[in-house]
């Protein structure tokens, strides 16, 4: 699931299109010109209200031939990630890290191989057959986990608030801003995701068209939000299994809830690895947009603003 801006990245579409009607300038004052994709890219940027940071149409060289589109920048800045999302994304990173780290300190308690109840819950196996027990002693030693339970509990029950509040704010923001339209999987997302994955694995060529996120990203990002919600619910059912025992029971009981909480965390770790890998592959322009909010895109690329408003 590449975060690559689509468009093969290298060739920026030649924008100055002589075949198009020459009246782009005359049209440009219209503030809300809705761009239907059918009118193939006449004068980009200039008439695009969303091209927030387009430089003041720079010294428009008035050339002799008046029937021509004046030269325009081939690239523009796309407001890709709103400020709120960037903040919440980056706040979540160390907070989730702290939750996982403190969770490991707690979990160490129940994972001591030497004693009589090894891994009743945290293992891969069926019935009495255990294929993998989590985790081996060298792992615990490497992360210096033994006997730091109180620290783990203290941090876990401190940062859970930040994790929960940040998550609630994030989802609320998605709903209010319309950003959810860019992120919730669509009908075609599954097929797209398969295609994207095959392309990523160099098994097939040709990325499907995408707006902000491709199908694989939509599915991944929507899932990780659901996983966060799952972590909160399973966490609560472990934290207060008597007071909210109906939730605990719905989740399959206390031990099941712990198992689910654990594997959701493993899911976060897997997501993290793929996510970071893809960000590295997607390159600087994409990564920068998660910090500054803006991505440099071909001027002709339709703005995301419309999708935010209407889907």
């Amino acid at each position: 699931m590449p975060e690559k801006p689509l468009g093969g990245s290298d060739e920026v579409n030649p924008v100055v299109d002589p075949a198009a009607e020459p009246l782009a300038l005359a049209e440009s004052p219209q503030p809300e010109k809705t761009r239907s994709a059918a009118d193939d890219i006449p004068a980009p940027a200039l008439d695009d209200p969303a091209a927030v940071a387009t430089p003041n149409p720079a010294p428009v060289v008035v050339v002799a031939e008046e029937t021509r589109v004046p030269p325009a920048a081939t690239i523009r800045l796309e407001r890709k990630h709103p400020l709120a999302i960037r903040w919440m994304h980056w706040v979540n990173f160390p907070v989730l890290f702290t939750m996982i780290w403190s969770g490991l300190l707690i979990y160490w308690n129940d994972s001591d191989n030497a004693y009589q109840h090894p891994h009743a819950v945290y293992r891969i196996g069926v019935g009495s057959l255990t294929i993998v027990r989590l985790f081996p002693p060298w792992f615990w030693k490497a992360i210096n986990a033994p006997y730091r339970v109180t620290e783990g509990l203290g941090y876990h029950f401190f940062f859970m608030w930040i994790f929960a509040i940040n998550g609630v704010l994030y989802v609320t923001y998605l709903l209010i801003s319309g950003e959810w339209r860019l992120l919730v999987p669509e009908r075609r997302s599954i097929a797209d995701a398969i295609q994207v994955t095959l392309v990523d694995l160099h098994l097939r060529k040709g990325l499907p068209p995408q707006k902000k996120y491709n199908g694989a990203q939509r599915i991944a990002y929507a899932s990780v939000i659901l996983m966060g919600f799952g972590s909160l619910i399973t966490g609560l059912s472990i934290y207060k299994p008597t007071q909210v025992h109906w939730i605990t029971s719905l989740l399959g009981g206390y031990e099941m809830a712990r198992w689910e909480h654990f594997w959701l965390t493993m899911g976060f770790c897997a997501f993290f690895l793929v996510h970071v890998g893809q960000v590295i592959l997607a390159g600087w322009n994409n990564f920068r947009s998660m910090v500054s909010g803006y991505e440099i895109v071909p001027a002709a690329k339709p703005s995301l603003e419309e999708e935010r408003r209407t889907g």
Partner: protein, 421 residues
């Protein structure tokens, strides 16, 4: 690595793909171009275009610089926040912000749930013998006939036949352990010995293990196993005290009748250990067993992470409290807390009165249909499914009503006082 041919092929492929999947938003499609006619003009325009592109990039660079500066400041802020927590002075062995948050969480939990939820119960067939974990306060067998339950703070205590002027004067009789029981490793706190790794070899070095056998140094009047002086305490033992202090200490010991000091485990002596001369009741087991008998099959949950369904038999703590109710404060309110302790004062727990009044808070005398074993806390221990196991004190020697939040063994070692589930 990519030559032009490959790229052209890829573009061709994509165009085909897009045509097949008719997407209204496509924007890549280029109108056919007349290269000959356009060539000149493009050369002329290209400089202007480049300048404008450069302007866009400059804009981007400006935003990027600003954003990364803010990001760096935020990262520094976040790290300082972590450092502030981590380096805060400790409050009962964890940084104060963490302790405050535990207390805050407790009040949120009390506010929302009021500790009224009932734990689910299970069929007896699902239950099993509880694993033993922690033998603090149980290092020797208690002679059953010598058992008395001390109750302090009971209303109208003098009216009860069990009233005595000094409950602390009662002498419990101990015997060497007949059967150590399946005493297991406790991971809630690091052993005092220097082996702190979590792997197999430590099992033997675990300083708690001697306690199970009942032959540790503590049996001989020495310190309890977890404080064994062959660890890091050697230096402390070598410190020479002034003779005046030594004399005063010896006098104090003598005045205590050379009794074994209380609070010999890692958390030390409880602040709530009774002063000599505290009046109260000395109940016999019959006073408890005359209450209505109850059975309860609930899931026992240890903060270490494990849980077991256990079949308990015993008496409601609420019934005992009703029989021996707390003395009201001068303003007519009930004391807010209950404090419990093992007879030797090594292990102790504090509770809210409300938690003790919970209908599932049980003074357990039986487990799995059999009388409690010594290592499970005979003759009477607490089972409280609204709390973690570390609150479910074994071998209860004292139940005291109090209006101040009582001391708690594991709280002193960094755990939550509330421990509510």
């Amino acid at each position: 690595m990519s030559d032009g041919r490959e790229e052209r092929e890829e573009q061709e492929q994509r165009r085909k793909w897009e045509k097949e999947h008719k997407d209204p938003d496509r924007y890549h499609e280029e109108a056919p171009r007349d290269w000959e006619r356009d060539g000149d003009r493009e050369r002329r325009d290209s400089q202007a275009v480049e300048a404008m592109d450069a302007e866009v990039r400059a804009q981007s660079a400006k935003r990027t610089r600003r954003s990364f500066l803010i990001a760096a400041a935020a990262a520094a802020g976040g790290y300082s926040f972590y450092r502030w927590i981590d380096r805060s002075p400790g409050d009962q062995l964890i940084p104060r912000p963490l302790r405050k948050m535990l207390n805050f969480n407790a009040s949120v939990s009390r506010g929302i749930f009021e500790d009224r939820g009932l734990a689910p119960t299970y069929p007896v067939s699902r239950s099993m013998e509880l694993r033993t974990n922690g033998n603090y306060g149980l290092k020797m067998d208690l002679v059953p006939d010598s058992y008395r339950l001390q109750m302090v703070g009971v209303a109208n205590a003098k009216a009860f036949p069990q009233y005595v002027d000094d409950v602390t004067a009662w002498e419990y009789q101990y015997a060497a352990k007949k059967d150590a029981g399946p005493v297991e490793h406790d991971t809630k706190v690091a052993p005092k010995a220097d082996t702190t790794s979590g792997n197999g070899s430590k099992a033997k070095a675990d300083p708690n293990s001697d306690a199970g056998a009942g032959e540790g140094p503590m049996m001989l009047g020495g310190p309890a196993s977890t404080m064994s002086a062959d660890g890091g305490d050697k230096k402390a033992a070598e410190v020479k005290m002034p003779p005046a202090f030594e004399a005063a200490f010896a006098a104090l010991k003598k005045s205590q009748g050379n009794k074994r000091p209380r609070g010999q485990e890692e958390a030390g002596m409880s602040d709530n250990t009774l002063d000599p001369g505290t009046p109260g009741l000395l109940l016999k087991m019959e006073d408890v067993t005359s209450l209505p008998h109850r059975d309860l099959v609930t899931e026992f949950k240890c903060i270490e992470g494990w849980s077991q369904v256990v079949h308990w038999g015993g008496y409601r703590l609420a019934d005992l409290i009703a029989k021996y109710p707390p003395e009201r404060n001068p303003d007519g309110t009930l004391p807010k807390y209950v404090y419990m302790e093992t007879p030797d004062g090594d292990y102790y727990c504090g509770f809210s009165l409300q938690a003790c009044m919970h209908p599932q808070s049980l003074l357990a005398t039986e487990m799995a249909g059999r009388p409690l074993a010594q290592w499970h806390g005979a003759p009477m221990r607490l089972h409280m499914p609204i709390k973690y196991g570390y609150k479910q004190i074994k071998r209860i020697g004292l139940i005291a009503y109090t209006d101040m939040q009582p001391d708690d063994y594991w709280t002193k070692l960094g755990y939550d006082w509330y421990a509510g589930l």
